[in-house]
């Protein structure tokens, strides 16, 4: 763990001196992490990929301002969060056209005579989709702490640092988010428990 941190600090240091190869390595390290946060925030894979790129571009430009000694991942999360929030705000100002493929509000035709394996697979996909939608329906200030805590494994303190709030606020918002999620997903409890 210490080695990993030391290696990361070294990479950050090299980035701050303009080493793009080191930055590539940081992207490799944190790419999935950042992409997943973006995906949970914007709810669309293509958009998330776009946001992940945007987050890293911003990070690269601002890396000289990153203070050594603090957690790079927390800082990167904050950059990612801001990129996503900016994008969400931009999208609200200019809504996507009706034909946009952004929303996966498609049809759910009955699987024709599904085999048990296919049924399992479909149930798994459906479970993921139901949860994804419930998370996406949360207001942003609830969604962010929930995603960071439940899915990204951040601590209260890290979430407070990322969102620029205090730990008490994080706890309160997390509680609200969980209760809202429970309300949204209670009708699907059977589906959730089948997993």
């Amino acid at each position: 763990m210490q080695d990993t941190l030391a290696a990361e600090n070294l990479l950050v240091e090299r980035c701050q001196q303009g080493d793009t190869v080191a930055f590539d390595q940081l992207v490799e390290r944190h790419g999935e992490w950042v992409y997943n946060l973006a995906y949970r925030m914007v709810g669309d894979r293509d958009e998330a990929y776009d946001m992940a790129q945007e987050a890293f571009v911003r990070a690269f430009r601002a890396i000289k301002r990153f203070r050594r000694g603090s957690s790079f991942s927390t800082w990167l999360y904050r950059v990612t969060t801001n990129a996503c929030l900016d994008e969400i705000k931009r999208r609200r100002r200019r809504p996507a056209p009706a034909s946009s493929l952004l929303d996966a509000d498609g049809l759910y035709p009955d699987p024709p005579d599904p085999s048990p394996q296919v049924e399992d697979h479909v149930a798994s996909l459906e479970r993921r989709e139901v949860v994804r939608r419930a998370i996406a329906a949360l207001p942003l200030h609830h969604r962010l702490p929930l995603v960071l805590y439940e899915l990204q494994g951040c601590s209260y303190e890290e979430i407070a640092a990322i969102t620029g709030t205090n730990v008490g606020t994080v706890k309160s918002r997390l509680n609200r988010a969980r209760l809202a999620l429970k309300e949204a997903l209670e009708p699907h409890l059977e589906l959730l428990r089948s997993g």
């Binding site: 990929y49 776009d50 035709p109 949860v131 999620l181």
Partner: protein
Amino acid sequence: MRCDDVIELFSRYRDGELAPAERRAFEAHLETCDRCREGFAALESVLAGVCDLEPEPAPPGLAAAVRARLEARTDRPRAVLLRWAMPVAAAVLLVLIAFGVFQVMPERARLAQQPALITDRYTAAGEGPTARPPSKPTEAATERGREAKPGVRVIAGPAAPSGPPGAGELSPRRAAKDEWAGAGRIAESGALGAPPPSASRTLAQKPKAAEPTRKYTVREGEPGGAPSYRAPVERPVSPAAPRSAVAPLAPTPAGPGGPGKEPASSEAAAIRSVPGRAVPEEAASDMGPAGPGRGPASVTVTAGASKHQLAFGNLTLQVNSDEAVDNAEVLLRAGRDKPEVVLWQGRLEKGPANNLDVQLAPTAPLNALQPERASTQEVARQELVIRGPHLNSQAYYVFAPSGAGSRQVAPMSRATAKPGHGKEGKRAGATWDEVLQNVASDAGVYVLAPAGFPAAQATNLPARADQRAVEKALGEMGYGLRAERGALTIEPAARPAAPPGRAGRSRR
């Protein structure tokens, strides 16, 4: 402890955040209160379901994409300059107006400056009476009246000769788009010959009755080859002009070259075809093929892959038509909302009957189109349009290039949803017919064929999208059909084909 207080503590109890006394009170309440106990159990189940979500694998090539974006942005100092220059200029202008600078300036002085200005323009243009400054004010005025306009036009820059009036006033962004749609781009991408004058007609302009629709089925190409498309025997009629009808495209000038001939790397392909209402064969024959005098027909192919996939994979499309292909125009366009942006263009002059090969290598135009902030969403809606006098068909395809899973297949948009159907209604009760009806209204049904799908046998699939018939035909080939969220996936059957009687059931 009241129920409301307990509910407020759910989250903190779960995280072990309660003080011992609080925790004991909480637990004591749960033992006596069924509602709170069930509520807490529900929360546990919900959060367990959330935690079980596997992380999404990041798309490959993220580092390269980031680097490309960084490099693209370093070339944009002018954009930043412009962003600031415009408001600053506007502010300065306002200040000048406010202080009445223009009014103070003597009228004569302003007039005297104008001939000199025009002379400067001529000088810059390299033509006109640059060596002969006007000797008298009257001469200057005459000169201005006669030649000032051409001088100004030259100064305005190399506008397209056939461009609309005021082309020079386009915003930089619009101008960039026009550049893509214009002659320079096409010549670079290798168009052959100009399209027939009628090629700019739209699908919507065509009379519905004269719109027999040929349906293509998808099959995998030869090993290492390309997916190919073959016209079936039946000739259904398109139910209605689709919303996504091809927008008119400006006739394009000739250019050398042709489509790139790079090998295809697609391993899976998806087809979105238009299931139509069948008409008697003789009625279809009466309509006849669309000849040059009747206007062209179009085949619209939607490349549904995201940008990075398309950028690294080349696609080969083969359309087998039952009529000879003659002078078909092939366009890869950037989405329906940007029909003027042509990413790639080619021409298929004369092909043998039943054979039309298009090879696409959209890498360079795609990368060049969106050097910065490339929205994969936008590129995901590219359309490939094949126009030709004998291609009286329309179909919509979604490509899933090499290595793509079903998640790359574009989902149905909200626009395809039938009125009166809520999400839950659709999820629980949509029948096959409803699905087809909905999908047909927007273009077709997504079918994702697996990599090993037998090419030759695919053409035996029934032309109309009838669930039982399709399933039966697939079952005979050892394949099954999975319907999920509007996408139909052909996959190897895990067990022998089911009796057709069960296949058509609906839970409604």
